[in-house]
Amino acid sequence: MIPVSLILIPLITGLLAFFLKGTTAAKNWALLSSVITLAVAVAGIYFLPAKHLSYDAAWLPALGSRFSLVTDGMGKMLVLLTTVSFPVILIATAKNDYKQPASFYALLLLSQTGLLGVFLAADALVFYFFWELALIPVYFLCSFWGGEKRIAVTFKFFVYTFIGSLLMLAGILYLYFQSADQSFALQSFYHIKLTATQENVIFWLFFIAFAIKMPVFPFHTWQPDAYEQSPTAVTMIMSGIMVKMGIFALIRWLLPVFPHASQQFAHLIIIFSVIGMLYASLIAIRQDDIKRLIAYSSIAHIGLMCAAVFAHNATGMEGVMVQMFNHGINVIGLWIVADAIEQQLGTRKFTDLGGLAQKAPVLAILLAVMAFANIALPLTNAFIGEFLMFNGLFQYNVWIMAVAGISIILAAVYTLNMVQKVLYGNTTVVTENATEISGNVQWMLVVLAVMIIALGVYPQPLIDLTKDTVQAILANR
């Protein structure tokens, strides 16, 4: 029952939220809902017996689709990431005011429904439904509450992902008719025997959908604009959680269903991912806007994860698992800082900022922690993940790993550059009257910083949690 309640709580509270009056009511309602979801998730994953973690009910018997949900290690980890992130995001952005707050928070909760559904689905049609359900609220959120160029930018994002998902739908249909028992169930998809040609064609139908979502070079062009123009709370959801949908789907749906094709095309995809890492890092160095910098840095990190998935060995896969969670936390931390600065000073340009460390020392320390995590310095959580992933790439091919390793240096360049330009130097006209960030934001950043350091010192809980998925994937080969 746990997976169903995880989907139903945000769904029902989200629908009800449309009818709320007043900003405070909507905020509190959304926070309450997300805290309940978090409690249910933690209880279900750590305290209740495992039999509560799957659910199966008839949905469309004529089509061979069942409403079935399952929670494996990776699913648990991503459910935790989603349910932890939402209260953090809501509290950290609680000071922001939105026009039509009820609809804003309602759509946020609906997007949570979609995300959780994607991570839990054990039926291809259900998966496809939630995959789209996560997209539609985000489309409305960005187009309604975003920046100046929001309509065009968000629409680009929408069309990109919509083309991807439609191609995936064609692939799902094809697999459905190939499956032995004409069903959409995950397990029957795993047992489909395809010829080499079939695999090679259908593989791409799926991969393009996932590559657009992650996004991996050369499908990434929608991402920096969309991140920049979206309201920051939504950007956090997109970059912290939504991109994980792509990585998750690779591991859950692509590798086991197309073992040969994913081996065959691994080299090509890894090379593209590495190109994307370096390319995005280089662009990030040239950015003059905090949000755009984080967006490009995010592409680089995702590229590494994608490469490590296709390296297909135990170390790399463990690294991906750990990093999916950690990247989510780190990037949300960075966005919170960016949002706090923008809300207070009204600008995100480096040229306008400087000397914030004198005015807001707490912010400075917390931003430094987030920045170090972004570079994957030892003792931060990202170090473990990146180390394991590079190790996995090393086992795959030394030269590719060597080239990909350049991105570590580039990450240090752009991140420290940002820290320096924002925090140090002389104060400017804009930052002269800057004050310390508000309590809410501080507390949330502290929570994230504690998680960053705790998981950096002792990452074992994450590795243990996702061990079964890693083993299952590698056994499948």
């Binding site: 469309l60 359900l133 069309v159 919509f162 191609l167 739908l169």
Partner: protein, 462 residues
């Protein structure tokens, strides 16, 4: 049989009620009651409880598929009248006559979903289209409406001529008007090979049916006619009438395709791609929502043609679901469009602020047309694509289709963008509480069928 007779009688009743009652609201009320009676009569027929029976000499073959479609068409007309009845009354003083014509159209629909002889096909098409020529020109002081009517009439006559020619050739080749009989003759030992005449006749029939359902390259009349006709009648033509055309198309060609061999699939694939291309790409460039919807109806026809391409059980279920999903969504959008003063995209700017209910239901209907999951339109498209994948060998066609579906999202979402994300002062008129309730019901149905499409399809197997 019930539906044919009852709808014809109701048409006459409506004409007389025009003489007796001068209050136009009464006409609408009578029409609603009449539609309910008609629906009941057809359902009784489907269940075999009460059937008017007499020997039709094989002219008709009432099967579940056709009768179920007739029920869908009547129910859709009911929704249409409930939502847009006021607009029909407003068109002119002859509202009773309009309703009479609508009942005659339904009579044509029932004939088309039950015909067994090519003669009945011809009759059905004529009974279906002649009232539409009049309805198209209903706004008789408007030059565009007149132009549309004349254009529709000429093109309709032209394509009917082609159809008659085809029927004649088939009769000449097989000596029979009865569908299916020609096949047995052709395969018998007397005539070892299918005659050239029959194939030529089939191709002429195909062309004329393409005209009727506005498949490219025979679509040129559609945008002008749909744009010129009074919006309230465009709504009827673009949904119920078009779906009926498809049902006739499918019933005509379902059993005949093997005569044409593999060339048939090639021909059809060409028509499908041309239709999707013309419909979608042209719709992108429209400035008026009404004209965009006429091109989108061409694009949707491209999708419905998949049912013809795959010709299996999924296709038959799918076309029914498609008829429901497409009709509901289009009727909903047109009902809102009729209330707007300005038909351009700019005219919809800011509708979400002034009329949230209208904007919300329109958005749901548009999402359904675009085929977004959780709406009926998704499963409609899903069934079409699934039937093609099941038929096998045409995955490329499915990929082409989904790419065009993505293009269609572009122009459907332009309306959503106007309503929700742009500011403006849209002018609406005559929006009542009942109208809003009706719209919300349509939106609710679209979502309900999007989650449980079996609600529609299970009825098919009663």
């Amino acid at each position: 049989m019930n539906a044919i007779i009852v709808s014809a009688l109701l048409g006459v009743v409506m004409m007389f009620s025009g003489i007796i009652f001068k209050n136009r609201a009464v006409h609408s009320a009578i029409a609603v009651v009449g539609l309910l009676v008609l629906l009941a009569a057809n359902l009784l027929n489907s269940y075999g409880i009460w059937v008017i029976r007499f020997d039709t000499f094989q002219l008709f073959n009432f099967e579940q598929f056709g009768m179920y479609f007739t029920s869908i068409a009547i129910a859709a007309t009911l929704v249409y009248v409930l939502l847009s009845g006021k607009a029909i009354e407003k068109t002119s003083q002859y509202s009773a006559e309009y309703y009479a014509l609508i009942f005659f159209v339904l009579c044509g629909v029932s004939i088309l979903s039950g015909f067994n002889s090519l003669l009945m096909l011809f009759l059905g098409i004529e009974i279906l289209t002649i009232p539409l020529y009049i309805l198209t020109g209903a706004d008789k002081r408007n030059l565009k409406s007149n132009e549309a009517s004349l254009k529709y009439f000429l093109m309709g006559c032209f394509s009917t001529g082609i159809m008659l020619m085809g029927i004649t050739l088939i009769y000449g080749a097989t000596g029979s008007f009865i569908m299916g009989e020609s096949k047995s003759l052709a395969s018998s030992a007397l005539i070892p090979k299918t005659s050239f005449l029959e194939i030529a006749g089939m191709i002429l029939l195909f062309v004329s049916m393409c005209f009727k359902v506005s498949a490219a390259p025979f679509h040129f009349w559609t945008p002008d006619v749909y744009d010129g006709a009074p919006s309230v009648f465009t709504s009827f033509m673009a949904t119920i009438v078009k779906a009926a055309g498809f049902i006739a198309f499918i019933r005509l060609f379902d059993q005949h395709t093997e005569l044409l061999g593999p060339t048939w699939k090639l021909l059809l694939a060409f028509v499908i791609i041309a239709t999707l291309l013309v419909g979608n790409i042209t719709a992108v460039f429209q400035q008026s929502v009404k004209r965009m919807l006429s091109y989108s109806s061409i694009a949707q026809a491209g999708f419905m043609l998949f049912a013809l391409y795959s010709a299996n059980d999924l296709a038959r279920e799918g076309i029914l679901l498609y008829a429901v999903a497409y009709s509901l969504a289009t009727i909903g959008i047109f009902a809102v469009l009729i209330k707007m003063k300005d038909y351009t995209f700019e005219g919809f700017n800011g509708l979400a602020q002034t009329q949230p209910v209208l904007a919300f239901s329109t958005a749901i209907c548009l999402l359904s047309l675009a085929g977004i999951p959780l709406t009926a339109g998704f499963f409609a498209k899903y069934y079409m694509l699934a039937s093609v994948v099941k038929a096998g060998g045409a995955l490329w066609l499915v990929i082409v289709a989904v790419l065009f579906a993505a293009v269609s999202a572009y122009y459907y979402f332009r309306v959503i963008q106007s309503m929700y994300f742009k500011d403006g002062e849209p002018e609406t008129e005559g929006v009542t509480g009942g109208f809003k309730l009706g719209l919300l019901l349509v939106a609710a149905l679209v979502i309900l069928f999007g989650i449980f499409p079996s609600l529609v399809l299970n009825w098919f197997y009663f």
